[in-house]
Subunit: 480 residues, 2 copies
């Protein structure tokens, strides 16, 4: 595929120049070079700086043309006015692609726009540009990382992120890694003067490493092409888009951020309906939806059973589910009868939502309750809230053994049951002196994620994400 | 005030009986008694259990009537069928109030309803009942705590919570304590067969300890009285209500939880408009709005300046603010000129939202940027996002000193400036092996809260809460 070949120098460079490298720790050229070294890039790295002969222990060249070996890819963080000359150097050297960190192009107005047009013209037919005003690519498999990311996960995964904002990309990688996500490729692309969102989407459509695509987009260069690509992904790879700047105030902000045009909310909603793209509204929804997708497949549906360690969980779940279009069907008589044997009539509810009465139900009883509900073919997903963190010494001053055992009940069930499980591990006290409670919470979360159980820090967030996943598969099935 | 006197035996009991106390650690009567002892109740505690003579080192009585000294208040966790007899005993003993943990009353149907009516009749004119099907009261000043809460904060504060759900109350106390909230009184009141939401509201209206009231309500017994009380609070004490069960599915759930009737969303929206009550929709909004109130006073307004360490912060803030009715006015020329001296034209924005270009701006520059914005009388609140956690070794592999210094900049400004400051300390990687990042986050959060700076884990959540506070004060001013 041509598109994959086009990205060859970006994702598989044998050598990379860092133009604007510096021994000053506050300069991006220093931080990028250090990040690449620490992250473990296997190719050759050539710092370029006319005023220094060695940076971070590497021989440094005054100009990219003077590097004695071939250079595939270059990172550029010199001042904007110097970038055209550097692009000329790159063309002369035979560099095939650049990522330009430098800002001060079309996002700052007329003069910047002219400068941006100049570098586009110089590069055309010679090399491809990511940026300017971007952080570039993170590709763990190839040892490539974004500027502040020497400590990003080194393992690859099957999630791709394209993000017009570099800051958002770095923040998302951290947050998503907490939910067990690992990335195939991340591309922060800023002003998108050459390679743009459609190019990345087309590449990712064919990328065998990528199964799910998340995109933070401020503006779209070619609406028709983007639409067709998004539509083509339906049923093959879920596409989740957070479109920044859909309000009047937001439009003004995207213009000064990446020089993009905002867009109308109604247009994007129609886009979402017609392409099956999941359109999200904010960072949490973007993160949650992306994180939850790998846990669900085409079998996912809107019928939910909820098990809560307390009655208010059921009330909150009922309201939240109905608001996002998920259903909580009443459990049929045979399921109710089986549950009634285990749960006393007082202080519990067997109708769905199922209130087990106390978060500290004995593990053996919890196991049976969950198994009974999972045997009910009238539900598609089981949500469990306010159970697994309770009974710990930190929280209630009691021995914590049962708390761990309750978590193991779910892990064990996961091995035997196909139906998706979604555990809510809610916010606890967030003071620094309660950090042990958070450690417990994370231990359970990591354990669940490892076992293939979806987790969320909030019922509200979880059901919104689940509804998004349902919408995607409903559209994908209808359009088959 | 009569209402305050009525609550005297509840909040200032000299002695308390625990009917259903047990040496079995899994029984609520054991856990409640232990919680009270550990929490440090200063009055006398009398376990009551006909089959044991000593529980947790305390002499135990077979019946409350046989306690040789007066008993003001009693906790009851014996089976539902025994409760009428115990109420008779309490009346005979001269007990003035009880909190009934036991469930199995009107929430389970006809027979339970009859039983509940029976205890109401027995108590009438003799003693007051909280519950049944509740966790009772938490009152740190008096050494009273809820069942699972020996480790709740022992310091008092000025937030009151009334909660029809005990589980929700316990969860809220933990979560709110993380945001520095401390409680005057918490009352979990379940089925509300005698004392109900209106009684609590009336009491809290006069309680000098209480400045803000949060209420989780599933049903209201006397709508007119509740309306009048809520309306009377406007301009005196903010009232935040999370009404559970406003959807069809939710109504079913509140009925099996506390035997309550749901209610219509439109009715509650009208209630909110007419009384100035802040109506929230879910746990996070309930928590955030309650937590943010103490940081804002009548001077609060909808004009916001946003400072972001990266351009996507400004975009997200713009969209989020507009969606909830907050304004982000463009900064006037003199403010822009002052900012331009500090921030290079490339990679930043000075218009508001202000993009400082990098989360790791030198502290001295950050200080000036914030001071310039705070000198602008066109804004009411300053929101700062994606700045204070960056530059730490865990996150970017760099020395962390500047990160701490940036946090101190805000603490220092807080001392000199009156305008409310709201810092967003967003979700970072949530794996257990990244717990050090969370410790850093919490250290900054605790520092800010202590200094009187509002914090939130999410921009989205923060602006919704801020908008709620604005709505409250707008209504309070209009109605003056």
């Amino acid at each position: 595929m041509d598109k994959v070949k086009e990205f060859e120098p970006i994702f598989h460079p044998n050598s990379m120049a860092v133009v604007g490298a510096s021994s000053d720790e506050d300069k991006p050229g220093n931080r990028f070079l250090r990040a690449m070294i620490e992250f473990g890039f296997k190719g050759k790295l050539y710092p370029v700086n006319p005023e220094q002969s060695e940076i971070l222990g590497r021989k440094t060249y005054p100009c990219i043309r003077e590097i004695p070996e071939p250079v595939d890819f270059a990172y550029i963080s010199t001042p904007a006015s110097s970038v055209p000359r550097i692009i000329e150097d790159c063309v002369a050297k035979g560099v095939r692609a650049v990522e330009i960190f430098t800002a001060g192009f079309s996002e700052v107005g007329e003069e910047g726009h002219r400068l941006e047009q100049e570098i586009v013209a110089l590069a055309k037919g010679n090399l491809r540009i990511i940026g300017p005003n971007c952080f570039g690519v993170y590709f763990p498999h190839g040892g490539l990382t974004l500027m502040p990311g020497p400590k990003y996960p080194k393992e690859s995964g099957n999630i791709a992120l394209i993000s017009q904002s570099g800051g958002l990309a770095t923040h998302f990688i951290w947050a998503a890694s907490g939910y067990g996500l690992r990335f195939s490729k991340v591309m922060s692309y800023g002003n998108a003067c050459d390679l743009n969102e459609s190019d990345f989407l087309e590449y990712l459509a064919y990328d065998p490493e990528t199964k799910t695509i998340a995109a933070y987009v401020e503006g779209v260069k070619d609406g028709k092409r983007f639409f067709d690509l998004a539509k083509g992904l339906l049923g093959r790879k879920p596409l989740i888009i957070w479109k920044g700047g859909l309000t009047e105030t937001g439009k003004r902000a995207v213009n000064s951020h990446t020089g993009s045009m905002g867009g109308e909310k109604a247009v994007w909603q129609a886009f979402s309906r017609q392409t099956g793209t999941v359109l999200v509204d904010n960072f949490e929804e973007f993160l949650d939806t992306t994180a939850i997708f790998p846990h669900f497949s085409e079998g996912v549906g809107r019928r939910v059973a909820v098990v809560g360690g307390g009655g208010s969980v059921g009330v909150a779940a009922s309201d939240a589910c109905e608001q996002v279009g998920l259903q909580i069907p009443t459990s049929p008589p045979d399921i109710q009868q089986q549950l009634r044997v285990l749960l006393p009539p007082a202080g519990t509810s067997i109708r769905n939502p199922v209130d087990i009465g106390t978060p500290t139900l004995p593990p053996s009883v919890l196991q049976k309750v969950l198994e009974i509900l999972l045997s009910w073919d009238g539900i598609d997903t089981l949500i469990i809230d306010r159970i697994f963190l309770y009974g710990t010494p930190q929280l209630v001053g009691m021995p914590g053994a049962d708390s761990e055992k309750r978590a193991e009940v779910l892990v064990d069930i996961r091995k035997r049951v196909k139906k998706p499980l979604l555990a809510i591990l809610g916010e606890l006290a967030t003071n620094v002196d309660k950090i042990d409670m958070e450690t417990d919470r994370r231990r359970v979360q990591d354990r669940f994620l490892q076992a293939g159980i979806a987790v969320s820090p909030s019922l509200q967030r979880a059901v919104k994400a689940l509804s998004n996943v349902c919408s995607y598969y409903e559209k994908a099935c209808t359009d088959k």
